[in-house]
């Protein structure tokens, strides 16, 4: 019996609170199973801040809950400091506008 949407929501909320940078992905850090997941990892590697991946490739209920929560149909889904930031399409543009570095700084300074 799959966990109800309620506990799925809590599971997601706990995860995005527990990690300053969290990526819901296809595959894991050691075995990424999608080009965009690798691209997202490389993106954050350039900034040198720690990030966590949660593999939801084989978890359709959780993927559905995440899609509904963010109104974003694709993976990966990136959360920074508990806020949703889409994927590298968004992050690349934010970086180009100089908005990303300050966000990452304040996110990690508050620790």
């Amino acid at each position: 019996m799959s966990s109800s949407t309620q506990s799925l929501q809590e599971e997601i909320q706990n995860e995005i609170k527990a990690h300053k940078i969290l990526v819901y992905s296809k595959g894991t850090k050691t075995e990424p199973r999608c080009g965009f997941t690798v691209e997202t990892m490389q993106f954050f590697d350039r900034y040198g801040y720690p990030y966590e991946l949660v593999d939801v490739l084989e978890n359709p209920e959780k993927r559905q809950a995440l899609t509904e929560m963010t109104n974003w149909p694709t993976l990966p889904k990136v959360f920074i400091n508990g806020q949703f930031y889409g994927d590298t399409d968004i992050l690349d543009e934010m970086a180009a506008k100089g908005e990303l570095e300050p966000l990452l700084k304040t996110t990690f300074e508050k620790a």
Binding site: N71, W72, P73, T74, F84, Y85, G86, D89, E93, M94
Partner: protein
């Protein structure tokens, strides 16, 4: 796979004033690069603009006609 007309129609119904440029990235008509300019994006941040586009394409993404869309949004200057 989706035709360019169907893709355009989905967007035009949500963004009647939009200027649209669609680029088929792989030749299979299911991975696209999209440029879209519309007044509807005014006052919206980047994420909201992309979410508005995804909402317009929701059906075609759910049934797999579209696998991925690289979105570039714009706001007309005039």
């Amino acid at each position: 796979m989706i035709t360019e007309e169907a893709f355009n129609e989905l967007l035009k119904s949500a963004f009647p004033d939009a200027d649209i440029a669609i680029f088929d990235k792989t030749g299979a008509m299911d991975h696209f690069r999209l440029w879209i300019s519309s007044k509807a994006f005014e006052g919206k941040n980047l994420i909201e603009q992309h979410q508005m586009v995804y909402r317009a394409l929701d059906d075609a993404m759910k049934d797999g006609r579209i696998h991925a869309v690289e979105i570039k949004t714009d706001i007309p200057k005039n």
